[in-house]
Amino acid sequence: MKPGDLIRIVKDGHVVEGVLMPLTELSSKNDIVVVKLANGYNVGVSLTNAYVEVVKEGYIEMGVSERRSASTYVTGQTGKLISVVSTGGTIVSKVEYETGAVKPALTADDLIDFVPELKEMGSIEVIDLYRILSENMTPDHWASISRVVGEKIVSGVDGIIVAHGTDTLSYTSSALAFALMNLPQPIVLVGSQRSSDRPSSDSALNLLASIVVALNAPFGEVVAAMHGSVSDNYILVHRGVKVRKMHSSRRDAFQTVNDVPLAKVVFPDKRLVMISTKYLCRNKKENLIIMPNFEKKVAIVKAYPGLSSEIIDFLVDKKFKGIVIEGTGLGHVNDLCIPSIRRAAEEGVVVAMATQTIFGRVNMNVYTTGRRLLMAGVIPAADMLAETTYVKLSWLLANFNDLSDVKKLLTRNLVHEINDAHEEYLYPRWYHGDRL
C-alpha cells in the first residue's frame, strides 16, 4: 500500500474509500493513514482494528516530477525579452491539489498560467537556478546569482527579474547591488508573502510590477518590488540596499528604512510613478563592473544585556575576517566586551557597528562607550541596516586585499546604501489611539 493507491478501509461497520495520501510532518505517525475522499476532503483514519484493502494500485500519480530544465520559454506579444531568474521561495511554490505536495519549481508556463497578462508585456524566459527557501541562501548563492544576472545583462535582455524567497531577499538584493555596479538597467528582485496557488496571492501584482520596472524604470539599480499596502493598489519599488522585511506575514512587509522608496507601480493601470529623485541612472553597458565574490567568514553579533566577550573571542579564534555588531542605541555594547573587540581589530578583523534600533544612524561620539569602541577600532556603519553592512563587509573582504581599503569603502557611499539626511517623515507612524 503506497501513496496514490485507491484503498478501502472497513472499521466499526463504516467504510471509507479514497486515495492514500502521504503523511504530513505533523500527522500522528503510529497508526494514522490520510485518505483523500471522492469529494476532495482529506481525513485521517486509524488502522487500529481496521480492515484495509487496496482497490487499485497507482490510482493517481504521486510525487513531484523532478523535471529540471535549465530554462523554459514562452513567446510574448511584444518584441521584448524578459529573463526571470528563479531561485525558490514562496513566489515559485505551488501546492498541487491532487497530492498536497509542494511543487518548488517555476516554469515559464507556470507563470503564464497564473498571470496571463505577462505575455502582453514580452517573451518570458525562466532560468531555473535554485529551488531553495531563502533562509538557506549563503554568500556562495549570492555569487552565482550575481554571475547569472551579469551574463544576462551582457547578453542584452530587456528586463531582468530575480524571483526570491522573502526572508533573506534584502540580503541578496544588497549583494547584487555591490556585485554589479554601473548597471545599464534595473535588476528587480521579487517575492511573495502568499504562495501562487492561492487566489489571494500577492505574486501576480508583484510580478507584473517587476516587469514594468525592469522594462521602463529610468534607474540602473538593484531593487525589490513588493506590495506597498495590504490592498492590491500599488507595488513599492525599494532600493535593494535600503529595504528590510519588517513583518513576518503581511504582504506590505517590505519597507525602505532610513530613506524613501524609489518608485511605485500603481494598479490596475500599471503606471510607474517615481517617488525619489535621487537615483543612479541607467549606465552604459560597457561600464558594467561585475565583482561577484563574497567572504563567508563574516558574522553578525547582536548586542544584548549580558553579551559575553567569549562570543567575540570565539569568532576571532575561528579566523573570522569581519564582524558586524548590531549595537544598542547609537552603537554600543557593554564595557566588558571592549577588550575582546580591541583584540579583534588588532588581529586584523574588521569590526563594524550598526544599530539594532533599525531606524536612525549610529553615532559613537555621544557617550563614553561609543568613544571607547571607536578607539578600539570599530567602524561606525552610518545609517546602513545591519544586514546591508554585513553583506557589504562580506563583499569588500572578498574583493579588496588591503584592509585599509576595506575600512575606507565600508563608510563610503557606493550605491546609496547610506543616506546622510534623515527628514522627519522617514520614521513610520504607529497607532496612538487615534480614530480608525
Partner: protein
C-alpha cells in the same frame, strides 16, 4: 396542476450551515459577534482574486478567468472584530478546540462516524467572500442518519468550517464585504439526495435545525443558519441553491426550482420543434444606438446623455420564448438578464418580447428589426445599454445562456430570493478544487476531546417533545411551537426556576412563543430581550408586582430601548390592587354618566377605552373588563 414529485424524479439534498456560539473564531481569537453601526468609515482593503487557468476544476477555465478578471473586492475591517488573520495578512492559528468539541458533539447526535484525525482543507471560492480565495473546511464525521416519516435520510458528511465574509453592498461593480463574519465557526451537515418532496425538505431541515439548537451552542437570529439546497429532476440538472436563510420558504424554493426545470425542458422541446439549431444563435452584436436617436424613452434618453450606447443581438427564431414564465414573476428573459448582470455588469436587458414598453415605440421596434435584418414575426432581439465593453460581455453571456437552452437546464449555482424564487449567481465550481491547508496542523481526536464533546450531544427531539407533553403538560400545538422557537432552551432553564401556580410551564411556553412572536410582528426588536430580562420579569410576576399584561408591556419597552433600566420599567407598570382599579373605573363611569346612559350600546367600549389608557400593563385587561361590566350593569340596570 400539482406536480407529482415521484413522477418527475425529484431528488433533494440539503446542506445546513449553522454558526456555532463559541467565544472566538475558528482560526483566530477574534470574537464571534458581528459589528453593528455605520460602516462607511471603516478601514478598507481592496483586493483582486485570481486563479491559475489550469486549476479551475470542471468549470470552463476561460470563462471563470473572465468572470474574475478585474473584479475589485472591497473588505471592511471593523476594529475589535477583525485581525490580520481574516485579512489574509497572517497565517491561521490552530483549530479552535471549543468549536471542534461542539462539532463532535453534534456528530455523535447524528450517529455519525467521527474521523480519527482531522485535516483542514482549502475549498476554492472565488466570489471574494473569503479574503484568501478559499474557505477552510474539515470533515469531522462521515455517515449517520435522520429519521423522517417519508423515509430515513442519510447524512453524508459533517464538516467544521469558517463562515464567509458578509456582503454588505455593491459599489460600481465591486462587491463590498464586512470581515466581521469571516471565520465564525460553522457546522455543515450534508444529507444524501434522499429527500423526495418539498414538504419533506422542510421537515428534514427543521429537524436538523432543532437538533443543532438542542446543543445550546449555536447562534440565534437571522443569518446564523443558512441552507443550501441541491435540486435535480429526471432530465434536468443538479442545481445548487445557496443561502436560503428563512426556513419557512424552503419548500417553496424546491417547488419553484422543479417548476423552473420542467419549464426549461418544455422550452427546449419548443425550441427544437421550431427547427432552430445552436449555430443559428450568433454572437454578433451591433451598435443600434441610431435607432433611438429621437427616442421618447426616459431610460434610453438618460443613458445616451451619459454617452452610453445601445447594443443588440438577434436570437433567431426565439420570438415569444423570452416571455415564458419559469417561476412566478420570472421569465426566460429574466434568466438572461441575470447572466447579463453577473458577467457584464449592466443593470438589465431589454428584449422584444416586452416591447413596446419602457417608452420604446412600435416604430422604433420596427426600425430595430430592419437595421438588424431580423424577422419581426420569428426572431427575438436582446438589447443592453452601457459602454461597449460592458455591453459585449453582457451579450456574450446572454448568447451562451441561450445556447444552453437547446440542451435544457444549465448546471448553475443560484441564490434564493425572499419569495422562494431563485436567480443565477455563478457557474458551479468543480468538485476537485480542494487543497490541503498546509498552515494548520492536523488534530488527533482523543478521549479528552470526546469527553468534552459529550457535553454538547443534542437530545433526541422526540424525547424532548414527549417531555413537553407529559412532564410539563403542554398542548401538542404549544410543544411544537416551542420546539420551533429560537428561545426553546430558555424554557428548560426557566421551568427549573419557576414552577408554581402563577408562573406555570404553560405560561412560560406561551410567553416564549406566542407573546414574543406577537411583539416581533409589531416590529419590536426582540433580540434585545435576554434570558436575564425574562427571568427578572417572571420573578416580578410571581411576586405580584407585575401583571401578565405588565410583563408584555415591560418587555416591549425594554426591547425597543435596551438602554432603559429594567427596574424603572417594572416600577412604572407596577400592578394596581383591586380597590384602586375599582376606584379608577368608578370615577370614569361617574364622570361620563349621562353619555353612557345615552349611548347604552357602546357604553362598555367607551369605559374600557378610557380605563385602559390609564391602567394598561398595570392590571390584566380581563380584570378591568370584568369590573367595567359589573359597574355598568349597576348603572344601566
Amino acid at each position: 396542476m400539482g406536480i407529482d414529485y415521484n413522477d418527475v424524479g425529484l431528488q433533494v439534498g440539503l446542506e445546513i450551515h449553522q454558526q456555532l456560539d463559541t467565544s472566538s473564531k475558528l482560526f483566530c481569537s477574534c470574537p464571534t459577534k458581528l459589528f453593528e453601526g455605520p460602516d462607511e468609515e471603516l478601514a478598507k482593503v481592496e483586493r483582486y482574486l485570481r486563479i491559475g487557468r489550469s486549476e479551475t476544476g470542471e468549470v470552463d477555465p476561460a470563462a471563470l478567468y473572465e468572470y474574475m478578471k478585474g473584479k475589485k473586492i472591497i473588505y471592511l475591517a471593523p476594529k475589535g472584530h477583525v485581525c490580520t488573520v481574516e485579512l489574509d495578512e497572517e497565517p491561521p492559528h490552530e483549530l479552535n478546540k471549543e468549536a471542534l468539541s461542539v462539532a463532535l458533539g453534534i456528530s455523535l447526535g447524528f450517529k455519525s462516524k467521527i474521523v480519527d484525525e482531522v485535516y483542514v482543507m482549502r475549498k476554492i471560492v472565488v466570489d471574494g467572500s473569503n479574503t484568501t480565495g478559499f474557505q477552510r473546511t474539515a470533515i469531522i464525521a462521515l455517515g449517520g442518519e435522520l429519521f423522517d416519516e417519508e423515509g430515513t435520510v442519510r447524512i453524508q458528511t459533517i464538516c467544521l468550517e469558517e463562515d464567509a465574509a458578509r456582503r454588505v453592498r455593491d459599489l460600481d461593480g465591486s462587491a463590498v464585504y464586512n470581515l466581521d463574519r469571516l471565520g465564525i465557526p460553522l457546522i455543515e451537515i450534508s444529507t444524501a439526495p434522499d429527500i423526495r418532496s418539498p414538504e419533506q425538505t422542510l421537515r428534514v431541515a427543521s429537524r436538523i435545525g432543532l437538533m443543532l439548537r438542542l446543543t445550546g451552542k449555536v447562534k440565534r437570529g437571522i443569518g446564523t443558519i443558512r441552507q443550501d439546497i441541491n435540486v435535480s429532476i429526471k432530465g434536468g440538472s443538479k442545481v445548487e441553491i445557496k443561502g436560503v436563510q428563512n426556513l419557512e420558504i424552503i419548500d417553496k424554493v424546491v417547488e419553484y426550482e422543479v417548476m423552473r426545470q420542467l419549464t426549461l425542458l418544455r422550452l427546449r422541446d419548443e425550441i427544437l420543434s421550431r427547427g432552430i439549431s445552436r449555430d443559428d444563435i450568433e454572437d454578433k452584436f451591433l451598435d443600434v444606438t441610431e435607432v433611438f436617436k429621437e427616442s421618447k424613452s426616459r431610460l434610453i434618453v438618460n443613458n445616451l446623455r451619459e454617452g452610453n450606447k445601445v447594443y443588440a443581438c438577434v436570437l433567431k427564431g426565439f420570438k415569444g420564448l423570452l416571455k415564458v414564465e419559469v417561476q412566478p414573476g420570472r421569465r426566460f428573459g429574466t434568466e438572461l438578464a441575470d447572466y447579463a448582470r453577473e458577467w457584464g455588469g449592466v443593470s438589465g436587458i431589454i428584449h422584444t418580447d416586452e416591447l413596446p414598453g419602457y417608452g420604446i415605440s412600435v416604430d422604433e421596434v420596427k426600425r430595430l428589426y430592419s437595421l438588424l435584418g431580423a424577422d419581426e414575426g420569428r426572431d427575438a432581439v436582446v438589447m443592453v445599454i452601457g459602454p461597449e465593453g460592458k455591453c459585449t460581455r453582457s451579450l456574450n453571456a446572454v448568447v451562451s445562456r441561450v445556447k444552453e437552452a437547446f440542451i435544457g437546464v444549465p448546471k448553475e449555482t443560484r441564490v434564493a430570493n425572499d419569495d422562494g424564487t431563485t436567480r443565477y449567481m455563478r457557474p458551479q465550481p468543480g468538485a476537485a478544487r480542494m487543497y490541503p491547508e498546509t498552515d494548520i496542523p492536523p488534530v488527533r481526536i482523543d478521549e479528552n476531546l470526546i469527553r468534552e464533546a459529550m457535553k454538547y450531544v443534542p437530545r433526541d427531539p422526540n424525547a424532548v417533545y414527549e417531555e413537553l407533553l407529559t412532564k410539563y403538560s403542554l398542548s401538542h400545538e404549544l410543544s411544537k411551537q416551542l420546539l420551533r422557537s429560537p428561545y426553546m432552551l430558555y424554557f428548560f432553564d426557566l421551568v427549573k426556576e419557576f414552577s408554581d401556580d402563577v408562573v406555570t410551564p404553560q405560561y412560560i411556553a406561551s410567553l416564549l412563543t406566542i407573546h414574543l412572536k406577537g411583539l416581533k410582528s409589531e416590529g419590536i426588536p426582540i433580540e434585545n430581550i435576554t434570558f436575564d430580562v425574562i427571568k427578572y420579569v417572571l420573578s416580578m410576576l410571581r411576586s405580584g408586582s407585575l401583571s401578565k399584561d405588565g410583563v408584555i408591556e415591560v418587555l416591549r419597552e425594554y426591547a425597543s430601548d435596551p438602554k432603559k433600566s429594567i427596574n424603572d420599567l417594572a416600577k412604572r407598570y407596577v400592578k394596581k390592587d383591586l380597590d384602586e382599579v375599582t376606584r379608577v373605573i368608578s370615577k370614569i363611569v361617574e364622570s361620563n354618566r349621562d353619555e353612557l346612559i345615552k349611548k347604552k350600546d357602546r357604553a362598555f367600549n367607551i369605559v374600557m377605552g378610557l380605563a385602559m389608557k390609564d391602567l394598561r400593563g398595570k392590571v390584566d385587561g380581563k380584570v378591568v373588563a370584568d369590573l367595567v361590566r359589573k359597574l355598568l350593569d349597576e348603572l344601566l340596570r
